[in-house]
């Protein structure tokens, strides 16, 4: 009944606090060493990833050496271009490691695009040459020997290329098995055709097969390069997220301009209630996935990580930090509010503040302040978080008076408190009486400190 008065407090201050905490959302920050770490580990990734590429390129080059002169010349030129591009890409990635700039990715895409166009142009030229050769073979009907040699050479090149495709990309070629099998069949037919003396037909078929396999090799090369690039990038970004989590876990609150800095650091883990740990674990799982050599992530998975998962993690980190900061501000505000109520009560009632504590000594919980009158009467002020995060707090005034038991007197006290708060610029609602007598347990502040009780009143 009378001894429990509940006052809802809406305070513009809360909104200011939220605005202030919103600044914490900007979690992108670097600590000394973070960049180096990312760079170092990205470089290592590059070494590892592009080391494999070079190895493969050597294999390809060796295989190219076994090609006919004509084919060798063309493939060598293409391979040279590709090697140069891979080197450029690696250089670029190495140079920009840790910068995580969008432009880097865009530059790389642009380079890739140009490269593909150059290669495509070459290939068109080559097709024209092949076409001319076929025409020449048609004209060489008379020279059967020479025609047979040319056809044989073409079949050999095609077989070398088939082998190269399977040697260089043993895994990646799988999805293209039907295509390579079909080409292999065509090649077998070309050999058969040649055996039947139809050199011109065999040549044409062999050249077509070669061209298809060469295109496939190009395609696989390109995809491989892109996947490797994405993996490095994903690894780099996830590492960055981990760094951000680490960097933001404990931080100084950045004050708005003109405000006095506080020496209290924000323990995001504490104030977020373990959210940071969860973030960290999730990031670690993704890192593991990206680095999985046995079952490496495919391009789609990497795309998802790069395009969705990493930004999402960063977003969640920002929100967690912001929420932690806000909760801490609100906790301080609760004590401030308790201070205002105490001040008001001291002024209007002559009670005096004797103690204050958070429930369970946990700053995330309700704050209690005790006032004692010289005659032994006690008042306990509880400021509880409103729970919804809606920028309000719930204030309760629990009167443990020996001699003030009259309902209207206590109601008057509640109204005076609300008025006192409003005089202090705090939007306090009119008090509502709550049923029941205040629980005597809330007078025992030692117990309050020890235990982590529920809110003082059953809301």
């Amino acid at each position: 009944m009378s001894g429990r008065k509940r006052i809802q407090v809406d305070e513009s201050e809360w909104f200011r606090t939220r605005r202030q905490a919103a600044r914490l959302k900007d979690v992108q920050r670097a600590l000394p060493g973070m960049l180096d770490d990312i760079r170092r580990r990205t470089h290592a990734d590059l070494e590892r990833v592009f080391g494999v590429v070079e190895e493969r390129q050597r294999t390809v080059e060796q295989a190219v050496q076994g090609l006919s002169d004509r084919a060798r010349e063309l493939e060598s030129r293409t391979q040279e271009r590709l090697r140069a591009q891979a080197r450029r890409m690696a250089e670029e990635l190495r140079a920009t490691a840790g910068e995580l700039r969008r432009e880097t990715a865009e530059d790389l895409a642009e380079q890739e695009h140009r490269l593909q166009e150059e290669i495509a142009a070459e290939r068109r030229e080559r097709r024209r040459e092949v076409g001319r050769l076929a025409e020449e073979v048609g004209e060489l009907v008379l020279d059967r020997e020479r025609a047979a040699a040319l056809a044989h050479e073409a079949i050999s090149d095609a077989r070398a290329m088939h082998l190269l495709v399977h040697t260089a990309f043993p895994a990646d070629v799988h999805p293209h098995a039907r295509r390579t099998d079909s080409l292999a069949e065509q090649l077998d037919r070309a050999a058969e055709t040649l055996g039947r003396g139809r050199s011109d037909a065999a040549l044409a078929t062999a050249q077509s097969v070669y061209q298809g396999l060469s295109d496939l090799l190009q395609e696989l090369e390109r995809h491989d390069r892109e996947r490797r690039r994405d993996r490095v990038r994903a690894g780099e970004l996830l590492l960055h997220v981990q760094h951000l989590i680490k960097v933001n876990a404990v931080q100084d609150v950045r004050e708005a301009e003109g405000e006095e800095p506080t020496d209290a650091v924000l323990d995001v883990e504490y104030w977020s209630g373990g959210e940071l740990t969860r973030l960290r674990a999730e990031t670690a799982r993704l890192q593991e996935r990206v680095g999985d050599e046995e079952r490496p992530p495919d391009t789609g998975e990497l795309r998802d990580i790069l395009e969705h998962r990493v930004p999402e993690l960063e977003q969640r980190l920002a929100e967690t930090v912001e929420r932690a900061g806000r909760r801490r501000q609100e906790s301080q505000m609760r004590v401030n509010l308790a201070g205002s109520v105490v001040g008001t009560l001291e002024e209007i009632t002559g009670y005096e503040l004797t103690d204050g504590t958070y429930s369970g000594d946990d700053q995330r919980e309700a704050f209690f302040a005790k006032l004692v009158h010289r005659n032994g009467n006690e008042i306990v002020v509880e400021v509880a978080p409103a729970g919804t995060g809606g920028g309000t707090a719930v204030l309760r005034v629990l009167s443990y008076d020996r001699d003030t038991t009259a309902r209207d007197e206590l109601t008057t006290r509640g109204h005076e408190v609300a008025r006192g708060l409003r005089d202090r610029g705090i939007a306090a609602s009119d008090p509502e009486a709550e049923d029941g007598e205040p629980d005597p347990a809330y007078r025992d502040f030692d117990a309050l400190r020890r235990a982590l009780p529920r809110a003082a009143t059953d809301t």
Binding site: A264, S340, E346, I348, T412, R413, R424
Partner: protein, 853 residues
């Protein structure tokens, strides 16, 4: 006047230094207009009552003094009290920071802008305390102070009226007051400071609130206490304090004192006025303010009407007393009183007075109106004040209606209010005997209240009761307490002024009005005053009447002379109603007896009147005034003309100038005696008053004391009559009439009465021829002749009637009855032939009926 008591804590002023702190009572009720005043302590510094009260309470051993009012719920005047009330001393908290008990994640920071009215605002260390305590918690805090036992605490409710009426926690306050009253452990004290002037007003106010019943009963109990009250009144400043104010303003603000010699009487005059010290301060500053600074003097104060005009004379009391006209016995009595008081003061100073009850200072003034009683009462106040018996010695005049209320309980209130106003001075109750008059209702209640206050406020005021001598005697006899308070030695009689004293007063007043007159006018005025004196009624104004007359003459003179103020007074200026008195020529014996002579017989009466005329003539010749006409007994059988003679005697005495009007009021027992106790005296008085300056004819006077049932009331009439005859001697002739034998018995039973009837006139029965002569004259008056035969027959008829009824023969009345019968017979005899105009009808013998006819 004793200097203010010295204190460890500071100086005090007389008004407060004398307050007796309560012994055992938890509430101390202070009231009086002085509580809003400034005080000048013996250190010549101005202070408010709060500061002096603080001193008083600390002196009385209260370690902590807490002040509280509605606007300032809790404050202190000294750091000790404050510190005792604040057990937890807190280090100051910087702005924008919280107290050590309040720590959040950001430490003691306050995130919002600091409270405008929050802690850290500059504080006056003397008064620092929560300024915004709600009424509820103010009472809670005061209640705590009153209950705790660590330090003796006094709680001062500075504006008790406001607190009691407007405290929003009225219920709680009422409860707390009730608890405190019952607490009564002689430790802590609540001082309730009321601005009401009297305790009665405080009690009325509290009763009117109807919300603090315990306080109401506490006040009621206090008022009933004969001694040892826990209440005190703080009034206007004493002369000593006024003098300190004068010196303060002299030194600080350049006030100049014109004559140091008159300073004592000057400050006494100031202190006698109901003016607060703050009021005097403002006025005196006005005097000191350049450029029109004026030195302080009695004359200046009078000119500005800041002190009562002429009241405070630079002359001593003795001189002023001597300058008063007449009042010989009064002056003598006052001189004795004065020196008795002085002697008591001296003995007290030497410590010789011991424990003896000091003689009562209260006085009774008996005398008629206008005999200077009020003036002398004022002098008595000054005598007492000069001797230190009274602090101010001012005079409060009250009449019975001022003291007596119209309903139960109101009388005590009014009486107490009057006493409160008179505290430190004199309460003068005129016509006080009316209080003991049972018909007046609540007079007795007023007497009780006065007796109670005389006991409770011993030394604080002097009561002087005044009235007609006889009535005052009754008044004193009505209550043994009164007799105890007013011993015989304290009864001072103020005789009426003699005509010559009245004359002197009249001339003195005319002179004071600035008028001049020729010597002849003084003789005229002497006649006027003599006349007024001779015809004065019970309400004659004596000196006041002379002043009124002088004022009236002045206004008549002024109208007559217009602006020519050099014109002297003339007899014209004497009002007409007074001009009847002077120079009335004495009527000759013949003139006086002319009417009497028309009567048959009555030789003794005629002789008596003749004697009076002769005496009067002798006195005029000697140059002395008239003499009181005598009261007379008329004894004789009925119908012998006693009433007629009494009426004529009145006229004769008026003609002779011995009675102012000479009219006749005829009464019998029925008009004088009432059916129940107390009523008879009033009836008798009323009859006497109506007969003043004329004749009161009491027929069958012996019936007043006929004994038996109701006889007692008759005695009351006789007693009253006797007293009134004395009181109005010279203005009333009482004629008691009756049968000789009964009258003799009556007078034998009332010897006091007999001695007052100095003249006895016997009315013998008429002889036969006298009866016939009466018949003849009566018949002639009706226009009938009574020839010899008819006369003879009538004589026989009357003689037979007398012989048949000797005891109640009607004499003259029998003659008138006979004449009526004869007239009837004559009419029957003449039938329808009436006499011609101008013809005198004569009775025939057959017109005289037989004795039985």
């Amino acid at each position: 006047m004793a200097p203010p008591r010295s204190s460890r804590y500071g100086p005090s002023a007389e008004r407060l230094a004398g307050l007796a702190m309560p012994a055992g009572d938890p509430l101390f009720i202070l009231h009086g207009q002085g509580l809003d005043d400034v005080f000048v302590g013996h250190d010549h510094r101005r202070r408010g009552v709060e500061e002096l009260l603080w001193t008083l309470l600390r002196d009385a051993g209260y370690a902590r003094v807490v002040f509280s009012s509605l606007s300032r719920p809790l404050y202190f005047r000294d750091p000790v009290s404050r510190d005792l009330s604040r057990p937890r001393r807190r280090p100051p908290v910087p702005a924008g920071r919280m107290r050590p008990e309040l720590r959040g994640p950001l430490g003691d920071r306050i995130l919002r802008a600091p409270d405008p009215g929050g802690p850290g605002a500059s504080e006056d260390p003397r008064t620092a305390a929560p300024a915004t305590l709600t009424d509820e918690h103010r009472v809670m805090m005061l209640d705590h102070f009153m209950r705790q036992t660590d330090h003796r605490t006094a709680v001062v409710l500075g504006h008790a009226e406001e607190s009691l009426r407007y405290d929003r926690a009225g219920r709680r306050l009422a409860g707390a007051l009730a608890d405190w009253v019952e607490q009564g452990d002689d430790r802590n004290l609540c001082v309730l400071v009321f601005r009401k002037h009297s305790l009665q007003e405080v009690a009325d106010f509290v009763a009117d609130l109807r919300s603090v019943p315990r306080l109401e009963s506490y006040l009621h109990d206090q008022m009933r206490r004969p001694t040892g009250r826990s209440t005190a009144r703080v009034g206007h400043p004493h002369a000593a304090e006024v003098e300190r104010l004068v010196h303060l303003l002299r030194v600080r603000e350049g006030l100049r004192v014109e004559d140091w010699g008159e300073l004592p009487s000057l400050v006494r005059a100031m202190a006698a006025m109901p003016v607060a010290l703050s009021g005097w301060q403002a006025r005196l500053r006005g005097l000191a303010r350049p450029p029109r600074a004026v030195p302080l003097s009695l004359a200046e104060l009078r000119r500005r009407e800041w002190i009562a005009g002429g009241r405070e004379d630079t002359r001593g009391v003795s001189e002023r007393l001597a300058a008063m006209v007449g009042l010989g016995p009064v002056k003598e009595h006052l001189e004795r009183l004065r020196w008795t008081v002085a002697a008591d003061a001296g003995l007290r100073a030497l410590g010789h007075l011991g424990d003896a009850e000091p003689s009562s200072p209260h006085l009774v003034f008996t005398g008629n109106p206008g005999t200077g009683k009020t003036t002398v009462a004022r002098l008595v106040g000054e005598i007492y004040r000069d001797q230190g018996l009274l602090r101010r010695g001012h005079l409060i005049e009250a009449e019975v209606p001022d003291l007596v209320g119209g309903f139960m309980g109101q009388t005590a209130i009014r009486t107490n209010e009057a006493v409160d106003r008179a505290l430190d001075g004199v309460l003068f109750v005129d016509e006080a005997y009316r209080l003991s008059d049972r018909e007046r209702g609540y007079g007795q209640e007023a007497i009780d209240a006065l007796l109670s206050r005389m006991e409770n406020d011993r030394g604080r005021f002097v009561l002087i009761v005044a009235g007609y001598p006889a009535r005052m005697e009754e008044f004193l006899a009505s209550n043994p307490g009164l007799r105890g308070r007013f011993p015989a030695a304290n009864v001072i009689h103020f005789p009426d002024y003699t005509p010559s004293e009245l004359h002197a007063i009249l001339l003195g007043r005319l002179g004071a009005l600035g008028l001049r007159w020729p010597p002849a006018l003084e003789d005229t005025l002497r006649d006027v005053t003599e006349g007024m004196h001779a015809t004065r009624g019970a309400d004659f104004g004596n000196g006041r009447a002379m002043r009124d007359l002088a004022d009236e003459m002045k206004s008549r003179w002024a109208r007559r002379v217009r602006a020519v103020v050099g014109e002297p007074l003339t007899p014209e200026d004497v009002p007409e109603r007074c001009r009847a008195h002077p120079g009335r020529p004495v009527a000759t014996v013949e003139e006086a007896l002319a009417e009497l002579d028309g009567l048959i017989g009555l030789v003794p009466v005629k002789e008596l009147i003749r004697d009076l005329v002769d005496r009067l003539r002798l006195r005029r010749h000697q140059g002395t005034g008239g003499f009181p006409p005598p009261h007379m007994l008329f004894v004789g059988p009925p119908g012998t003309g006693k009433t007629t003679v009494a009426r004529l005697t009145g006229r004769v005495l008026h003609t002779l100038g011995l009675l102012a009007r000479g009219h006749l009021i005829e009464v019998t027992r029925a008009e004088l005696v009432a059916g129940y106790q107390g009523q008879t005296a009033t009836r008798t008085q009323r009859a006497v008053r109506s007969a003043l300056d004329g004749v009161l004819f009491v027929d069958e006077a012996y019936s007043l004391s006929r004994g038996g049932p109701g006889g007692d009331f008759g005695t009351e009439a006789v007693d009253t009559l006797t007293r009134e005859m004395d009181e109005h001697r010279g203005r009333l002739v009482v004629v008691a009439a009756g049968y000789p034998a009964e009258m003799d018995g009556f007078l034998a039973r009332n010897p006091g009465l007999r001695s007052r009837f100095t003249e006895r006139v016997t009315f013998p029965a008429y002889t036969g021829p006298e009866l016939v002569e009466i018949l003849r004259r009566a018949a002639a008056e009706q226009g009938y002749a009574l020839p010899g035969p008819a006369a003879g027959r009538a004589l026989g008829r009357l003689e037979r009637e007398r012989a048949a009824h000797p005891a109640d023969f009607g004499n003259g009345r029998a003659v008138r009855v006979l004449l009526e019968h004869m007239e009837a017979r004559l009419a029957r005899r003449l039938g329808h032939t009436p006499a011609a105009p101008g013809e005198t009808l004569a009775f025939a013998p057959e017109d005289v009926p037989d004795a039985d006819g």
